[in-house]
């Protein structure tokens, strides 16, 4: 059984130091998560949090298997309509693949960039990939690393993992 999309549970936790036009966001920030195929999920607005909003809202996002990014955008409702505060484009490989179990709860933070590409605040999320039941009992969850998982292309040359697994 081959599934054509993966289901992610994304908990949008909080934002830090959010600004619009160099001024701190006053209120009503919310988060939109978008896949490259334009599926959209939105959190509620945080009316009180100002430039340090907290949402703690879980969104379930279906991402087609071939897609490699999701986009997290912080917007702010103002009298002049919804404004973009900042965007983070998040590689799926940050929480899928790699060597941790598939259903590992990842806590991740990203720098937001505004429409001009300038640095804005930080968004904190947690992500858990929903593992289909037939795969959940497969134990180690050793996946094939997706995308560029190396650190600056440095070759370490020592196959540590295959000798260490016996230890745990």
């Amino acid at each position: 059984m081959e599934s054509t999309s993966r289901t992610l549970e994304v908990t949008v936790i909080s934002g830090e130091n959010l600004r619009t036009n160099r001024k701190p966001v006053k209120k009503n920030a919310f988060v939109v998560i978008q896949t490259d195929s334009n599926k959209v999920c939105t959190t509620k607005m945080d009316a009180d949090g100002g430039s340090y909003p907290s949402w703690n809202e879980k969104l379930v996002v279906d991402v087609p298997m071939h897609e490699r990014f999701i986009t997290v955008e912080v917007q702010c409702k103002t009298s002049g309509g919804n404004k973009t505060v900042g965007v983070a484009r998040i590689p799926i490989s940050d929480f899928v693949g790699g060597h941790v179990p598939q259903s590992y709860l990842h806590f991740l933070s990203y720098r937001l960039r505004d429409n001009k590409g300038e640095r804005n605040g930080i968004i904190n999320i947690s992500v858990k990939a929903k593992v289909p039941e037939y795969a959940s009992c497969s134990g180690t969850g050793m996946g094939v690393p997706l995308g560029d998982n190396n650190f600056g292309g440095v070759v370490t040359g020592i196959p540590i993992w295959c000798t260490n697994t016996g230890r745990f």
């Binding site: 806590f107 991740l108 720098r111 650190f151 600056g152 540590i160 745990f168």
Partner: protein, 579 residues
């Protein structure tokens, strides 16, 4: 104020060191408190109660059985014993259970050696206070020693010691059975009990006519001398005369007891730092609990002095407790007893800037008189603390920045020379692998941390994949400034999502200013080249200068934050200790 000093990551990053601030982790951030606690350091201290029992003690009395008593000592780094306390004398028993218990403060970053002496107290002294007993007049039944962290990492928190003769009489090889002493350690419940409270005020008077007011609360405990010591503080709520503050978390240990008087002051925030007192309330935690259940408000008062008379002006403003809940959080020690481990890994800098190891001015010079070089000292000082939290005591050990036997420069090679496995046995194993590596590799460069951090992260990932309940601590010892700063940051940002903490110790006289960037305590959160940000602080850096003997070294002080980092990891993921 308030948010300006926060790095709470939605309440995910620990906001301080005491167990109280930990109550905060899964909830809304409480940054004002966080800032306050940060200023007091992060060390974890926990009160431990020791109790004792013994079996098969020697019978020294002719007509009846022995009348045993235990004396407990703490043994300093200099080997000097200091008495912690004595138990009562149990009459006529070779398998006594003592009632007297002793309390000791557990400190993660120190090896706390305990020595137990068991005496048979002669009948003629039974009316004498145990503290007054002259020990040379009593019969010695045996002694044993253990390390506190050894006791608390046992699943039943009990350590059984074979009693032995006094050291001076050890010469004879009579292995006589002197019985066994069992020491049990229990964490005091007050270390774990946390109150969560939501405060609200009504009818605050606007003091500031020209700007909007910004009220906040400061909660202080009153100590015996009458001095007020602030324990926590809320955020400032702007322009609100009936504010509700975010939840406040208080630990029983922080305030002493539920009946200790607390002063709750309501201030109006002033950016000059001179906040105006609006009014205050004096209540213990127990009073606040009653206030909550009654649903009533308590009037604030303003202490005013008229000449020599103190009068309290009662205000219209009232304080309400909208929530009062008491909870017990799992402590660091609960996780240890539940089978969680801390595993130690080490990586050593073999770059050429250390100097030729054969020459005495090299940082890698091995002095055969036994004097340890800075690398060896750092290994021993961190290792001797952490080894007790690692059950198999097999430590991965790497070197970086050198050419192993005519190969190309490696930025992560196994210290033991093996091409297959990096693990060595015990601290002694690290020391031996280190000295032999010095003979077998030629120092080179540059200084790259990325590869060793990635390898440590890989081990941590594999442990997770095998459902390990382990937390890893990588010690990197280096003499110079890192060349691959961005790669190091990238590796650290990735590792912040794993059960891993990294200690970096700088040896030698280099300027380590750049290294401080890696330690988020001292600057901004680490950011990778792709815009990912470290989700928590996992790095600590310290330059290792000469340390006076007998003192806690800077390196050990560095360990103090590990329990907090461990708990942050476990609690945000709602990982429960197995009981």
């Amino acid at each position: 104020m308030g948010n300006c000093c926060s790095d709470e990551a939605g309440g995910r990053t620990a906001v301080g060191g005491t167990a109280a601030s930990m109550g905060n982790l899964n909830n809304a951030p409480n940054d004002a408190v966080g800032h306050f606690l940060k200023s007091r350091g992060h060390a974890l201290f926990s009160q431990i109660e020791l109790s004792y029992s013994a079996s098969d003690l020697r019978d020294r009395d002719v007509l009846s059985k022995s009348d045993p008593m235990v004396i407990v000592y703490t043994k300093g780094r200099d080997g000097v014993l200091e008495e912690l306390g004595r138990t009562e004398v149990v009459l006529n028993s070779l398998n006594p259970k003592w009632i007297t218990k002793h309390t000791i403060t557990y400190q993660f970053h120190i090896v706390q050696t305990l020595v137990f002496h068991v005496y048979d107290v002669d009948t003629q002294f039974h009316n004498v206070d145990v503290k007054m007993l002259k020990l040379e007049e009593q019969q010695f039944l045996g002694e044993g020693s253990g390390v506190l962290s050894q006791i608390i990492t046992k699943s039943d928190r009990s350590l059984t010691l074979d009693l032995v003769h006094r050291e001076e009489s050890m010469g004879s090889n009579r292995a006589r059975n002197l019985g066994k002493l069992t020491v049990h350690a229990e964490e005091c419940i007050s270390s774990k009990t946390t109150m969560e409270m939501i405060f609200r005020c009504s009818d605050l008077e606007s003091k500031d006519l020209f700007s909007r007011s910004g009220p906040f609360l400061v909660i202080s405990k009153v100590v015996e001398s009458g001095i007020q010591i602030p324990v926590c503080k809320t955020e400032v709520i702007k322009g609100d005369l009936k504010p509700t503050w975010k939840p406040v978390f208080l630990n029983i240990q922080q305030v002493g007891s539920k009946d200790n008087p607390l002063v709750i002051e309501c201030f109006n925030f002033n950016s000059s730092g001179k906040h105006d007192l609006i009014g205050e309330v004096r209540k213990s935690l127990a009073d606040l609990e009653k206030l909550h259940s009654s649903g009533q408000g308590e009037n604030l008062f303003l202490p005013t002095s008229v000449g020599h008379n103190y009068q309290n002006k009662v205000l219209k403003s009232q304080l309400f407790v909208d929530k009062f809940s008491q909870s017990t959080k799992h402590s660091f020690l609960d996780y240890l007893a539940g089978g969680c481990e801390m595993n130690f890994m080490v990586a050593i800098d073999f770059t050429a800037s250390n100097g030729n190891p054969r020459l005495p001015d090299s940082l890698h010079y091995i002095d055969h008189s036994g004097r340890l070089n800075a690398y060896q000292r750092a290994i021993v000082e961190v290792g001797e603390v952490l080894q007790f939290y690692d059950s198999d005591k097999r430590f991965p050990a790497w070197g970086f920045g050198a050419r192993p036997i005519d190969g190309p420069v490696s930025h992560c090679f196994n210290l033991n020379g093996s091409s297959h496995h990096s693990e060595v046995e015990g601290i002694q194993g690290i020391m031996m692998a280190y000295t032999s590596a010095l003979l077998n590799v030629s120092l080179a460069g540059p200084t790259l941390f990325g590869p060793v951090i990635s390898n440590a992260a890989l081990i941590a990932s594999h442990s997770l994949a095998n459902s390990g309940r382990k937390y890893f601590v990588l010690l990197i010892i280096t003499d110079g400034v890192v060349t691959d700063l961005q790669e190091t940051k990238d590796a650290l940002v990735k590792a912040s999502d794993l059960p891993l903490s990294i200690l970096i110790v700088g040896v030698g006289g280099a300027d380590f200013k750049e290294m401080e960037i890696l330690d988020a305590d001292k600057g901004e959160r680490l950011e990778s080249s792709t815009g990912r940000v470290a989700s928590r602080d996992i790095v600590q850096f310290v330059p290792f200068r000469d340390v006076q003997s007998g003192e806690i070294s800077v390196v050990q002080a560095l360990l103090a934050e590990l329990p907090t980092q461990f708990l942050t990891y476990m609690r945000t993921r709602e990982i429960q200790p197995i009981s």
